[in-house]
C-alpha cells in the first residue's frame, strides 16, 4: 500500500493537495457518525495535513447513494485515490487500521 501512495504522489504533482481522496458516509448525528468524523479529521490533520480532500456525506439526505455505492455498514470511509479503492467501516477509532487502510506509512 505504502508503495502505491509513493508512486501516486510524483505522478500527480499538481494535485498534491488532493492526493488522498476520501469520502466519509455517515448517518446524521448518530454517536458512531460523530465519532467517525472527529477521528478521521484528527488522523488526516495529523498525518496527511493539506494533502487530502475529505467529503462528508449524510446518507439520510441522499438515500439513493446507498445503493449506488454499495453501502451496508456505516460509518463508511471510501478512499478512492490513490488506488486501489479501499473501504473502511467503523468509527475510525482504531488509528493503526485507518492508517493502514488509507495507505499511509509512518
Amino acid at each position: 500500500m505504502s508503495d502505491l501512495s509513493d508512486i501516486g504522489q510524483p505522478s500527480d504533482p499538481q494535485k498534491e493537495n488532493s492526493c488522498y481522496v476520501l469520502r466519509l458516509f455517515i448517518t446524521g448525528a448518530s454517536v458512531n457518525s460523530l465519532r467517525a468524523v472527529t477521528n478521521i479529521k484528527k488522523i488526516c490533520d495529523t498525518y496527511i495535513k493539506d494533502n487530502y480532500s475529505l467529503e462528508i456525506i449524510d446518507v439520510y439526505q441522499e438515500k439513493t447513494i446507498a445503493e449506488k455505492e454499495q453501502i451496508i455498514a456505516l460509518p463508511l470511509l471510501i478512499k478512492s485515490f490513490p488506488l486501489p479503492e479501499k473501504r473502511l467501516i467503523g468509527d475510525m477509532s482504531d488509528t493503526q487500521k485507518v492508517l493502514k487502510g488509507i495507505g499511509i506509512t509512518l
Binding site: 458516509f25 448517518t27 448518530s30 458512531n32 465519532r35 467517525a36 477521528n39 446518507v59 439520510y60 438515500k63 439513493t64 446507498a66 445503493e67 454499495q70 453501502i71 451496508i72 455498514a73 456505516l74 460509518p75 463508511l76 470511509l77 479503492e85 479501499k86 473501504r87 473502511l88 467501516i89 467503523g90 468509527d91 475510525m92 477509532s93 482504531d94 487500521k97 485507518v98 493502514k100 487502510g101
Partner: protein
C-alpha cells in the same frame, strides 16, 4: 393480500398468499403477513426460486409490490435465471412492481476500524421499500453478511434490529438461509425469525431425487406438518398437499363402459362405476395394455377426456399397437381428448410421479386416468412406498370423481391372491388376465377377481385379441375342463360336424319319406289308370250296346218307313 380465514369469529392471523401452487393450502392462506418467514435449505433446494415466486406472484396477482435484496446473485443473473419461468423482471422493475437490489460485499475491500452499524442496509432497504410502496421483501441470503464482516456481535445485534424494523414496517419478509450442520441455518437465523420457518430439502435416494418441503413452525396458525414433495418445472414451484386423506368422497352410481361389450356383460352388463379404481393384472403379454387402451378409446369416443400415463412405452408405440387391433387413438389425441404422458419411472422419485399426475389431472380435467403399468414404479421405491403412493393417488382421483385404471404385471406364474404392489385390496374392480397353457398353446383367460358393489360373472372367459378389436369368448366346458384357443375351436368344429351329420341324417329320412310317398303316389296313379281303363272297357260295351240299340232302332224305323207306301 390478507386472507382472514374466519373459521371462528375471533380475529385470526392475517396471511399473505404466496401464489405458489399448493403452499397456500398447506399453510391455510400463506405466510404470516407483516412478519418475517425463514426459508432454509441446502444449496440448490430452491430457496431463491421460492422467494422470487413469492415476490412476483405478490406483485402480479395480489397487488403487493416487492423488494428483492440479493446478497448472492447479481440482478442481471437473477433476471436471466427466472426468465425461464416466464418472469420478466426487467419489465416488472420498469413497472415499479419489483425492485431488485444486489448487495455486494467483499471482505478484501473492507477494513473494520471500530464500532459500526448496518444503518446503510436499513436506509437502502427502507428507500427501496418506499420507492415502490413494497409490501413484500426478500433477503436472499442475508447470511452472506457474515462472510463479509467480522464483528459477529454487531452483526447479530443488527440482524435482530433489522427483523424488528421490518416487522414495524409491516412488510411480509422472506429470509433465506443456507442449511447448517445440525441447525436450520448456518448462522442460526432461526433465532431471530421465529414466526414461520419453512424447510426445503433435496433428497436423493436410489439415485433419484425428490424435493421436499416442510413447515417446521408457524406461530399462531395451524399448518400441515408433513413433508410435502414439490416440483420445480417451467411453471415454477408446485407443492401438493397430497397426504391429507379422508374417506369421505362422493360416490357415483353411474356406470361407464369398458370398451369391451363382453366385459361389460361380465360386470352386470353395464361396466365400471364412474370414479372407481380398476386394476388389471396379468403376466407378460396378456394384453393388459390393450384393455387399458380400449378403455381409453371408449372414453374418448364418448367425448370425455382421458390421460394415459405410460411408464413403459412411448405414446407413438401405444398408438401404433392399438391401431393394429382396430383402435384409432391418434384421432383422439388430435381432438384433444386424449393426452399421453410417457416417462420412465426412474425419471423421478415416486412423489414426483404423483405430483406430475396431480398436476396434469388438475390441468387437463380428465374423467379417466390410465396408469400403465404401475409395476415399474417399484424400481424407484419400495413396495410399501408404492402402495402408499397408489392409495393417495386413488383417493385424490376418487375425490375428483375420476375413474382410474392401473395395469400391473405379475411375475409369478401362479397367480397369488395379491399383486406385487399389494394394491388389490384398495381397488374397486380387479380383473385378472392369465395364461392358460393347454394343448401346446397359450391362451388368455380373463376373469373378474372382484368388483365391489355390482353383480359380476364368476366365469373365466377367453380373452381374444383380433384385428377388429378385443373380445371375450365363452370358454368351452368340456369333459376335459375349460377349453381355450384351438382346443375350443376344435370343439366348436366338432359340434359343427355333429350338426352337419345330424342335418344330413334328417334330410336322408326326409328323402326316404318323399320317395315312399312318390312310390305310393305312383301306385295310386296306376290303380287310377287301371280303374279308368276298366271303366272305359265297361263304358265301351255300354256305348256299343247303346249304339247297337240306336242303330237297330234306326234300321227299324227305316224299314218301317220303307214299308209305308204313303210316303
Amino acid at each position: 393480500m390478507s386472507t382472514k380465514r374466519s373459521k371462528s369469529h375471533l380475529p385470526s392471523l392475517p396471511k399473505a398468499l404466496t401464489g405458489i401452487k399448493g403452499l397456500d393450502e398447506i399453510t391455510q392462506g400463506g405466510l404470516p403477513q407483516g412478519r418475517p418467514t425463514l426459508i432454509c435449505g441446502a444449496a440448490g433446494s430452491g430457496k431463491t426460486l421460492f422467494s422470487m415466486e413469492f415476490l412476483v406472484h405478490g406483485a402480479l396477482d395480489f397487488n403487493e409490490p416487492g423488494v428483492f435484496m440479493s446478497f448472492e446473485e447479481r440482478t442481471e443473473e437473477l433476471t436471466i435465471n427466472v426468465a425461464s419461468l416466464g418472469f420478466d423482471l426487467a419489465q416488472l422493475q420498469a413497472d415499479k412492481l419489483i425492485k431488485l437490489d444486489h448487495v455486494h460485499i467483499d471482505r478484501s475491500e473492507i477494513e473494520e476500524t471500530g464500532e459500526y452499524d448496518l444503518d446503510g442496509l436499513f436506509i437502502r432497504l427502507g428507500y427501496a421499500i418506499d420507492s415502490i410502496g413494497a409490501k413484500r421483501v426478500v433477503l436472499d441470503t442475508i447470511e452472506n453478511l457474515f462472510s463479509g464482516l467480522d464483528n459477529q456481535a454487531i452483526l447479530r445485534a443488527e440482524l435482530r434490529r433489522l427483523f424488528g424494523w421490518l416487522k414495524d414496517k409491516g412488510v411480509t419478509t422472506v429470509i433465506t438461509g443456507e442449511k447448517g450442520d445440525g441447525t436450520l441455518t448456518r448462522q442460526g437465523l432461526e433465532e431471530y425469525v421465529s414466526d414461520c420457518v419453512i424447510l426445503l430439502d433435496h433428497r436423493v435416494s436410489n439415485k433419484i431425487s425428490t424435493r421436499i418441503l416442510r413447515i417446521v413452525k408457524y406461530r399462531g396458525s395451524v399448518h400441515g406438518t408433513n413433508e410435502y414433495p414439490f416440483l420445480i418445472d417451467e411453471e415454477g414451484i408446485s407443492v401438493l398437499p397430497i397426504t391429507s386423506l379422508t374417506l369421505s368422497h362422493d360416490v357415483s352410481t353411474e356406470r361407464i363402459p369398458s370398451g369391451i361389450p363382453a366385459l361389460d356383460n361380465m360386470l352386470g352388463g353395464e361396466g365400471f362405476y364412474r370414479g372407481s379404481s380398476i386394476l388389471i393384472s396379468g403376466t407378460a403379454g396378456t394384453g393388459k395394455t390393450s384393455v387399458a387402451g380400449s378403455f381409453a378409446n371408449e372414453t374418448c369416443l364418448r367425448g370425455e377426456r382421458c390421460v394415459y400415463f405410460a411408464f413403459e412405452e412411448s405414446p407413438q408405440q401405444i398408438i401404433r399397437n392399438m391401431n393394429s387391433v382396430g383402435m384409432d387413438l391418434q384421432s383422439h389425441v388430435d381432438k384433444g381428448l386424449l393426452r399421453f404422458h410417457a416417462s420412465r419411472p426412474t425419471l423421478n422419485g415416486l412423489e414426483m410421479h404423483l405430483l406430475v399426475v396431480h398436476k396434469l389431472v388438475k390441468e387437463f380435467r380428465p374423467s379417466v386416468v390410465v396408469l400403465d403399468p404401475i409395476t415399474n414404479l417399484v424400481t424407484v421405491g419400495s413396495a410399501s412406498e408404492v402402495k402408499s403412493l397408489l392409495i393417495r393417488l386413488i383417493d385424490f382421483l376418487q375425490e375428483e370423481q375420476i375413474t382410474v385404471m392401473f395395469t400391473a404385471l405379475s411375475f409369478k406364474e401362479v397367480i397369488s391372491e395379491q399383486t406385487d404392489e399389494t394394491v388389490s385390496s384398495i381397488v374397486d374392480t380387479w380383473l385378472l388376465i392369465r395364461d392358460i397353457e393347454f394343448n401346446g398353446e397359450r391362451n388368455r383367460g380373463l376373469h373378474v377377481m372382484k368388483s365391489r358393489g355390482m353383480k359380476h360373472s364368476n366365469q373365466v372367459r377367453e380373452f381374444v385379441i383380433s384385428d377388429s378389436g378385443l373380445d371375450l369368448v365363452d370358454v368351452f366346458l368340456g369333459p376335459e375342463g375349460v377349453l381355450t384357443g384351438s382346443a375350443r375351436e376344435a370343439q366348436q368344429l366338432l359340434e359343427k360336424t355333429g350338426i352337419a351329420l345330424r342335418d344330413h341324417a334328417v334330410t336322408r329320412k326326409d328323402r326316404e319319406i318323399e320317395r315312399k310317398r312318390s312310390v305310393l303316389e305312383a301306385k295310386i296313379a296306376s290303380l287310377n289308370e287301371e280303374f279308368e281303363s276298366l271303366q272305359d272297357e265297361l263304358n265301351k260295351t255300354y256305348i256299343e250296346e247303346e249304339l247297337r240299340k240306336e242303330i237297330l232302332e234306326k234300321n227299324r224305323q227305316e224299314i218301317t218307313r220303307n214299308r209305308d207306301p204313303r210316303k
